[in-house]
Symmetry: C2
Subunit: 205 residues, 2 copies
């Protein structure tokens, strides 16, 4: 157990963690700085020792999310190598796994309205994360005859949209909207059909 007393010791991270939990719970606009401070056991004013304000706190959470996200995507990508197909499918699974394991981060990143260009650091790490998916799509599209090959960025946008849609509609417990299938299965099968459409997997697979 860390030391307790007048000085918290690790307040900055404690505030970010609290914020992410609350964002998950109450949504990006429902989150309040005061509640995060309270949850960290500290006065609202103390937050200003570590952050410029409310927005800055959210942005820090998003930034940490992008870092975890990029690491996970890179790991997944590498784990599927040297097969371009396996690498691609692994990144798709990693996307959903991230959204389910780190919902607060996910919301801060994609639903909070924080601009990815808020700071150069944030832009850079977001770019790294998105780059993995595009790389995986690019590798894979090499296996398609050049004349009927869609741009890799379109390819990755399709998969990103499908993944995001599955997360938002079926992986979150939207009140009153029951998922017809487990989200993992839905995403896996959707990507499978899509890849078949591109001629990248066996029609009978």
């Amino acid at each position: 157990m860390p030391k307790r007393g007048y000085h918290h010791g690790n307040l900055k991270q404690a505030l970010i963690d609290a914020a992410l939990e609350l964002i998950e719970l109450r949504g990006p606009t429902g989150f309040t700085l005061s509640e995060a401070a309270k949850q960290a056991g500290v006065t609202p004013a103390a937050v200003y020792r570590h952050f410029e304000g409310r927005e800055d706190l959210i942005a820090e959470g998003a930034m940490q999310g992008y870092e975890i996200f990029a690491d996970l995507m890179e790991f997944a990508y590498k784990s599927g190598q040297p097969s371009a197909l396996k690498a691609f499918e692994a990144t798709g699974r990693a996307y959903l796994a991230f959204a389910r394991k780190y919902p607060g981060h996910y919301i801060a990143m994609f639903e909070s309205g924080i601009s990815v260009n808020r700071t150069p650091e944030l832009a850079s790490v977001a770019h790294r994360a998105n780059g993995v998916l595009e790389q995986a799509a690019d590798d894979l599209s090499q296996h398609i005859p050049a004349d009927k090959r869609p741009p890799a960025s379109m390819f990755s946008a399709h998969i990103w949209a499908l993944s995001h849609g599955v997360v938002e509609l079926f992986a979150r417990n939207s009140p009153g909207r029951a998922s017809p299938f487990p989200p993992e299965e839905l995403l896996e099968s959707g990507i499978g059909i899509y890849l078949r459409g591109l001629g990248l997997v066996d029609p009978d697979g």
Copy 2:
């Protein structure tokens, strides 16, 4: 011009319209009853003559959205008949068109946290809307050999997720996240590849 004076004449609808505009502008949790009242030129207290409160106002907006949505989807479905394929593609286009034309309604319906089971009327109209997409998917899946035919509900969930993802990521002007392609093109091409994967369109189409 409608009569002006002490009595508004059409306050209920004016409040709903104001609410939907504000929801589009500030997000579902950022929306306030007071601001909607102000925008309709009326005291906040007047809202309570027509709605039970803040939530009820949002729910009414969502309900009207589902009605428009269901009508549009039905019209699109019929416009593609008797070709199951054309009908299906038309519903996909209608989905995106709705999201772009009625963003406030869309957000109230899918992002506000309002449960679809809030009232029987809301549940009913939501069911009607979703039913069209499922019907279109079901028609289409009749053209797939029964032994390799995915359940129609999975089929429609895939398309719904893809559409929703395109809307959220690329049709909304997410700050700092530029769309690589026009959303319409992205959705159309994505659905095309998906249908090819199901063996429903010509591989060289």
